[in-house]
């Protein structure tokens, strides 16, 4: 077989890589759900995931319309709905009022459906009221009630329901629809238009494109209306968060790249190696991203941060390769050999620590760990394979001065002395803050995971304020494998709620029990109602004779008509009208074979915890965002502490074996403890809080920052405890590595997602502290102690 020419091999390799990268990048998608960052085994996370997965309406955008005049707001909302509905390519429907306003018979269908699932006693009593012998007295009673009642609501319902179809059914749903039905605030100044997309929104790119088109159409329309508009709902959240994730991935990676380039320039003052280094980093980034696209389903907001972290870490290998080339390598194989052992060691330990994160119960952190581990391995390979070749050639043709000017400045005795003094003063000050002001406050609420700026969040907050204040409300979700199982669990949930209400834990509650169908009762009641459904004209005559108008019979006719159309064999029967589907969409789900019913519980403030203990059993979840924060606070610190301790213990164990010195281990532990205390002090001083992601940041700090303390300890051993010599040897390496990692994490500190920003800020601050203490304090402290207590070995 003839040998393939090198140029062809290269072309095939490049083409293969290009295909790999393009394929991987095209597969990347984002999971904007903050619950995707949290452990699924937690009950609140599991329950809230069910709520979001089944009741969040992924194709429905909510447009809020607000002005200082109720009539203007109403006219504007209707006009906007018409404008949106006139674009069938964009909107399947746009509603400024309940579908029942234009089609009241839809409510009749819902009522017909509800009544069919009533117990036989209740249903038979209704049929009895309409039996020929009783029709007249039933209508007479209705008239008397209309005459006597003081309640406009009762009058309104009875006037349209003289036979009492709604008697015994909870009227909250009906009253809710009359009272704006989720479309208008009580004063009418705030209204909502619900827009359903013409096409299913398959991914975040679809969401961004569709929401942008709707916003643009609404902005054009608003030129002549001058009302305040807001956009929220699931597509708006996805568009907002994914859009910012997309931007942030590029921005944080770009700014990290710029800072890394600036650091390289300050140290070496060479343009061409800098350009090649940045090109290599870009290649690593593309390869790692493509690998992520191939390997992982969806990137969470936290894994987006991996790009900046990976750039910060993999560029270290580039610095090391270039520095080694500058300090004399006989040949390219010699350079690679010299670098391989060091890079392989650091790369594998870093990758190992980050891979250990994949065991974290926090999916976002676990994903980040896998991505960074992959990224540093790719980084090491690219730097040794591509950058080493260029670095060797460049340095051979244009040798660098030795020592470099920056190296000379960094290792001057004067600078090291002052740096030690400043670090010591800074350390004492930060520890004092910690001692006297106490540790930073703790915040595990879901707010710490939301985007910093988001129009969708703002609009949702305004909606909660003006239309439906659901703050503090708990969601009830009931699941089951069959209609009977869901029904029995709904009754169990009702029982638990009633008991909690009797204890004073619940102010009010609403469950979907009344809307859940019973196929068996539907069959039985439909058979019983068959004769009545054929008796529509008799009943209409009776209504008119009693003094009512045609309108009083609309509801009854609609119900009876449905009973006539439905057959017992169709059970389980679900209503199909727009009005009924609209009301049911947030309360029950029966698509794709999954059966779920929802509910809302308003707890008495301060009784939430007691409620969570008493309401809930298999298939019954009572969940809320505030409770999620409490659960995280209760569960996560313990889990993370175990994990951090395990990794720390492993690092200490490895160090003990490698150095065989108890004193070195004590110094390492003391350095980490001091760094941690200073980090806590600095966080408190800056008004920061400790949350889920600052604790997670400690894991990353262990992965990236512990090396700063290990390197000086190794150098001290090599240099016979001479701190100045150890500092001279390591100053540039530690400064370069720390600066690039700090640049990577620091860029994340400006991320729009608060969790990602918290992670980035904590890591950048922690690395700065750790690098300063390890480089400037640890060596002189070691030397001073060694002088006072000389080692016996």
């Amino acid at each position: 077989m003839s040998r393939i020419p090198a140029s062809l091999r290269r072309i095939v390799l490049i083409a293969g890589l290009a295909l790999y990268v393009a394929g991987g990048l095209s597969r990347i998608s984002f999971d904007v759900d903050i619950l995707a960052l949290l452990p699924r085994h937690l009950s609140q996370v599991a329950g809230l995931s069910l709520v979001l997965e089944h009741f969040s309406l992924p194709n429905e955008l909510i447009v809020t319309v607000e002005s200082d005049d109720a009539e203007k707001t109403e006219a504007a909302a209707r006009s906007l709905a018409d404008a949106l509905a006139s674009r069938p390519d964009l909107a399947n429907r746009a509603l400024a009022e309940g579908p029942w306003e234009n089609d009241p018979s839809g409510l009749g269908e819902l009522l017909a459906f509800q009544l069919l699932s009533q117990p036989p006693g209740v249903f038979d009593a209704l049929l009895e009221r309409m039996a020929p012998a009783n029709t007249s007295s039933t209508l007479q009673n209705a008239l008397e009630e209309l005459t006597d009642t003081l309640s406009p609501a009762t009058a309104a319902i009875r006037s349209y329901d003289p036979f009492g179809f709604t008697d015994g059914l909870p009227t909250e749903l009906l009253e809710q629809q009359q009272d704006g039905g989720g479309f208008a605030s009580p004063d009418g100044l705030f209204r909502v238009v619900y827009v359903e997309s013409a096409q299913p929104l398959e991914n975040y790119r679809d969401c961004i494109r569709w929401v942008d088109e709707i916003k643009s159409l609404a902005a054009d329309w608003n030129v002549s209306h001058g009302v305040e508009l807001g956009f929220t709902g699931q597509p708006a959240f996805v568009a907002d968060i994914s859009g910012s994730m997309d931007r942030e991935m590029t921005l944080t990676a770009g700014s990290a790249l710029l800072l890394v380039g600036a650091i390289f320039w300050i140290c070496y003052r060479r343009i061409r190696p800098l350009v090649v280094l940045l090109a290599c980093v870009a290649l690593i980034f593309a390869l790692a991203m493509a690998t992520a696209g191939w390997l992982l389903e969806d990137l969470t907001v936290i894994s987006v941060g991996f790009a900046a972290v990976m750039i910060g870490l993999s560029v270290d290998y580039g610095y090391y390769v270039f520095n080694s080339a500058a300090h004399g390598a006989a040949s390219l194989p010699d350079l690679r050999r010299k670098c391989l052992s060091n890079i392989a060691w650091t790369c594998s330990t870093t990758a190992a620590v980050f891979l250990a994160l994949s065991y974290s119960t926090l999916p976002g952190l676990s994903q980040l760990g896998v991505l960074v581990a992959l990224g540093v391995v790719i980084g090491a390979t690219v730097m040794l394979g591509i950058f080493a070749r260029f670095a060797f050639r460049h340095v051979t043709r244009f040798p660098l001065p030795s020592p470099l000017p920056i190296e000379h400045s960094l290792t001057s005795a004067r600078l090291l002395r002052w740096a030690a003094v400043f670090t010591a003063i800074g350390g004492i000050a930060l520890v004092s803050v910690l001692v006297f002001n106490g540790p930073p406050s703790v915040d595990f609420s879901a707010n710490t995971m939301r985007p910093r700026k988001s129009g969708a969040y703002r609009a949702m907050e305004r909606l909660s304020e003006r239309l439906a204040d659901d703050r503090g409300v708990l969601n009830l979700v009931v699941t089951g494998d069959s209609y009977e199982e869901v029904e029995s669990r709904l009754h169990e949930a009702d029982r638990q709620i009633a008991e909690a209400m009797a204890r004073g834990d619940i102010a009010s509650a609403m469950t979907a029990t009344i809307l859940w169908p019973s196929p068996e009762r539907q069959r039985r009641n439909l058979e019983k109602a068959a004769s009545l459904a054929a008796d529509i004209s008799r009943l209409r005559e009776a209504v008119l004779e009693a003094g009512f108008t045609d309108q009083a019979f609309v509801l009854a006719e609609s119900v009876l008509q449905r009973w006539k159309e439905w057959t017992p064999g169709q059970a389980p029967i679900w209503p199909s009208s727009d009005a009924a589907s609209w009301i049911l969409r947030r309360l029950v789900r029966h698509d794709d074979g999954e059966l779920l019913a929802a509910g809302l519980v308003h707890p008495v403030p301060g009784h939430e915890e007691a409620l969570l203990d008493s309401v809930g059993s298999p298939g019954i979840h009572l969940v809320g965002w505030d409770q999620l924060g409490r659960e995280l606070r209760r569960e996560i610190p313990g889990e993370l502490t175990v994990m951090i301790s395990a990794i720390f213990a492993a690092v200490v164990f490895i160090l003990l074996i490698a150095m065989r010195s108890l004193r070195a281990v004590i110094f390492f532990v003391a350095t980490q403890a001091l760094s941690l205390a200073c980090l806590a002090g600095a966080t408190a001083l800056l008004g920061g809080t400790v949350g889920l992601f600052s604790l997670a940041a400690l894991l990353l700090l262990l992965g990236t920052g512990s090396g700063y303390a290990i390197l000086p300890l190794l150098a001290l051993r090599r240099n016979g405890g001479n701190s100045a010599a150890a500092q001279r040897e390591l100053a540039l390496v530690i400064v370069l590595c720390a600066a690039s990692s700090i640049a990577g994490f620091g860029a994340l500190g400006f991320a729009n997602n608060l969790a990602l920003a918290e992670l980035g800020r904590t890591c950048a601050l922690g690395l700065t502290i750790s690098a300063c203490i390890s480089l400037f304090l640890l060596p002189p402290a070691w030397e001073a102690l060694a002088r006072r207590f000389p080692s016996r070995r």
Binding site: T147, D148, L150, S151, A155, A156, S159, G188, T549
Partner: protein, 220 residues
Amino acid sequence: MIQRSLALLLLAATCTFAQETRVIDLSPIARWIERQSKIRTIEADMTQSRALKTLRSPAKAEGRFWFESPDRFRWQIGDPPRTIAIGDGETITVIDGRRRTATRTRVEDLKNDASLRGMAEFPFAPDFATFRERFEVRDLRIDGTVCRVEMLPRDPAARKMLTRIILTFDTESGHLLSFEAVTKDGSSLRNEFSNVKLDRKLDPSIFAPDLSGYDVQDSR
């Protein structure tokens, strides 16, 4: 011809403008409220008519009304009473005589029940300033001694439901003659008062009904 048309148009426009900007003299209302504030008790017969789109003719009921300053009232429909509403300033109890049930509601929880809230705030406002804060008077006409006031509440939530409220009273005696609320769906509720007696001593049991045998519930 064109000039004449233009002149007529201008005249019509001027008249419309004059009508829109007409300042309504509210002094009869101020005097009426002033007189109401001095009344200690009211006792009157009442006819309630409810007109609905679903009824061919309004549903009428006879009843009786009692008021004792500052905030006790009893509103009763039917004889023997079928529906009674009794208020003491803090709670309102609605009694259903046929079903033998009674529901007690605190006045502060009546946000969503304009009808009961209206009863609790009888006679509309404690003073004229508060009346002006609560209501916008759209029209006021006096025919003999009868003053007819057409008004709308300023509360946007109530405004959303109502087309108008019409109030008539006797300017000489100060008696409330009728009260009508017309809603946007075209329904209306009208109460006409007759045989009005002022400042007579009322039997305390009027405001303290015997609820034994009734199913009494507290509503939130």
